[in-house]
Amino acid sequence: MEAQLPPYSIKMMLPELFLFVWALVVITFDLLTRRKSGSAVGYLAMLGLVICGGILSITGYGRGFGMMFINDPVAVFFKVIFLGAAFMAIGSSFGITNRKIVNHRGEYFGLILLSTVGMMFLASSQELLSLYIGLELTTIPLFVLAGFFKDDRKSVESGIKYMIMGALSSALLLYGISFLYGLSGTTDIVQMKINLAVTQLANEGDIGVILILATVTILAGIGFKLALPPFHQWAPDVYEGSPTPIAAFLSVGSKAAGIVAFVKIMMLGLEAFYDPVMKPNDWGILVGVLAIAAMVWGNVAAVRQSNIKRMLAFSSIAQAGYIMIGMVAMNQYGLAAVGFYTFVYMFANMGAFAIVTVVEDQTGSCKISSYAGLSRTSPFLSAALAVFLLSLAGIPPLAGFFAKYYVFAAAIAMAGSSNGHTWLYWLVGVGLLTTVFALYYYANVIKTAYFAREASPYRLRPLRPALLVIAIGLLGVLIFGVVPETIVDFARDLPYYIAH
């Protein structure tokens, strides 16, 4: 019998392959210039991301490598988010690379690009093995990046905490994947969904204890990546200790990667076990409980932080909770709301972290008290910080408001559609209530910057790439706040692709 190989269509993989090669080019360039290339290596990395975005726009939709690699609108949408997050992380890194890690610039930028390649592979994978490998390619460079200041005790400590937690979560995920493989006999996620449904029907709706175990371990594994309580303990420490642009990249890129993994495994593969008609199932309630825990604990703990990086870490835990509301509302609006939320969150969070980086470069401190009186000496950056924080809090004219609005609207639409989902009203209620807490601690930073007795002794002078990042963030937050339709219209189509 002659084996028939599926068509490879390597063209689909072109953006990832290009970025992978470019990462090596960046590292080699730094070596060839004997580590004296200055900012050029950083600009080279940013150029690579822009070119990769261009290649992505002309690659088009399609499949490659059988069913393993798929370029559908969902994948492309999230790839744009990953590229944007990497671009903004690199743009805000120049202050650090010029002073603190002069001898390892190439590795620093190269590892960010490699991690982005992993995220892009993850977004395109339609199959358990490539999904797992994509997730590992995302996180292993991030272990190194988190501990990049190898003489700084805090940085190394955060790197090692992230490494243990990341390895633990991937072991949990792999254990769950092994059960899914054993139950369905395939690693293809779409085929897995069909096989599991057939088994379930044959057993008269009983899905068995092993599938529940698999769901729980996979949920725990992804929960670590998303920093959902009770798997969130690593996040504040890692964000505090790691270089600030890397903390930003973790909070946006790595989180978006976890969201994609969740969409692929839970929404696509285990979709049937969401439906409350079938018993005993329902990972929806489990995720809903995690979302409530994330919103409550993230927002409450953020109130009492004095370090702005820790505060943003808890705020990102809470934001993951809001995103999970959209996931639980598995109707046609749910995934669209999740996509839009993640897109807007990228602009606001990367922008806020970029300003934190500028302040840290200048003052050497991440304390909220070091922001006192900044509005008098650096009015533009203080205003930008206020816009980003208000967008994260969800204040109306800014994009963050529409993101929260769509997520809550999706959950309410689902709650009204059937009797089994009325508990979603509680989810929305908790979400609205905790938004008030969020407003308090975001406004606290703005108050410190604007209503101090004396002017700040520091005059912030951001480098040009950092200004570019802040400008991109401001444009994103303002434009998609005024005309969210441009992205929402694209995001609205996402659920149709995930369902088929």
């Binding site: 190394v156 400590e157 490494m163 254990y175 006999g185």
Partner: protein, 100 residues
Amino acid sequence: MVPISAYLILAAVLFGIGSVGVLVSRNMIIMFMSVELMLNAANMALVAFSRALNLMDGHVIVFLVLTIAAAEAAVGLALIVALFRNRESVDIDRFNLMKW
């Protein structure tokens, strides 16, 4: 012939030992070994399922997972060395610069 449930129980026991090791141990290297044990428990389950289903996928997955585990070990041990240079200890009770 050994039934598949025997392999799965062994995998579950190994996974349990590994996760308890991560949670209880105070030594960074032991914690790291325990994580590797958890990964290998998952490999065990994959091979057992693969054999029972008469499919090759599981065997292939195990090889790739081994590669990933090696990469993870390389990065992890490098971090542990950097940590030891900083504070002459791999005891996690001393990693309290930041509130855990």
